[in-house]
Symmetry: C2
């Protein structure tokens, strides 16, 4: 736990190597994989469910890896939604890494799925440092987290080319302007794409799915 | 970053030693200190503001340390509320530690304050491992984080003797029952105390202040 010094070039290289291994394995099986990061309660699970529902309509099968320090609540949610899912408990670690994901890939029925959603451990700090071998990295934030979440975590946003601002239906009730985190993000990552969503209702999910190149 | 192996007994002992040093320094100045943990957007800052407002009415002066990986938004909020405040940026680290807090204590006007609120970095994973030398540890969670946040992070809740469930005014709108995390917490920590709050309105803050022994 907390035992990886990412300033150490050897270890960084090791993580990159394992990430490439995952990438190649996924490629061999024709699976596109997405690393879904975000704080606890931002709506990562609901967003993955919404994306999976959308592609399922076209017969595209998605799988999921649910990363958490403890418990298998999210795995159960994914399985209830009909997705093959693995629960990946990190113990005390605040992020997934390529090594852990590699073990999950051994357990998943890779021949059955075309998409893989990897739900990272819920926080905006640690996952920023660890490549997994996924095709794209998303960060999900919720308007309920306040207006300053991007400014407080520049690293993870600089790395992610898609930001999903979720629960925008609550913006007025909470008094948070979702345009503020959008502007902060565009300042950090001018080429990044921002989507406003209400995940359980599927609002905004179509546009996101298009950006991800998902048939649905 | 991520470079402390807390399984290493030597390092654990070192952290405990530094925490004791902080504790003694605070004691010498007659300052009671609280470690306020919780995810980003849970309402830690608003809760500290509400507690500080409450005690200020009785002439009790509080100070604050705002821990974040980047930015000084919270320090500015505390200063605007009239609290001497230090911004403690951890870079890539997902928690405060006793060493960092020790440096903040050197910068704060300790002779002017009677209470110190230490706002930890916003997540429910890393801060669990690090004693700071504070008198009590609180975890703030928001109903907007969902019903499963306690089950997903047993370690931090086992360590904390007070849990504040914040934003309970949004519980119905979000469809979250705050009794569920309360029950999960009581299962982990039968002696722990739970408070339901709406921090910006001061709802529930009186009861919490009493539990903390704060005059107000």
């Amino acid at each position: 736990m907390h035992d990886i010094d990412m300033n150490n070039e050897d270890i960084l290289a090791q993580h990159r190597e394992l990430a490439e291994k995952n990438e190649k394995l996924l490629e061999r099986h024709g699976i596109r994989a997405f690393n879904v990061m975000g704080a606890i309660g931002s709506g990562k699970t609901a967003l993955i469910e919404a994306l999976a529902r959308r592609v399922a309509g076209n017969g595209v099968k998605a799988g999921a890896v649910a990363g958490d320090v403890a418990g298998n609540d999210d795995q159960q949610r994914f399985q209830a939604a009909g997705l093959p899912a693995i629960s990946l408990n990190t113990g005390s670690d605040c992020h997934l890494d390529a090594h852990l994901l590699g073990h999950s890939l051994e357990e998943l029925p890779l021949e059955e799925i075309e998409l893989l959603f990897v739900e990272n451990v819920g926080n905006l700090v640690c996952p920023a440092d660890f490549p997994l071998g996924t095709e794209r990295d998303l960060v999900v934030i919720s308007v309920t987290e306040g207006e300053d979440m991007v400014r407080k975590h520049p690293k993870i946003f600089a790395r992610s080319d898609i930001v999903v601002i979720n629960k925008v239906d609550l913006a007025d009730a909470i008094g948070v302007d979702p345009e503020k985190p959008r502007r902060d993000y565009e300042g950090i990552n001018p080429n990044g794409k921002v989507f406003f969503t209400v995940a359980p209702e599927g609002e905004g999910v179509e546009e996101l799915a298009e950006e991800l190149g998902l048939r649905g």
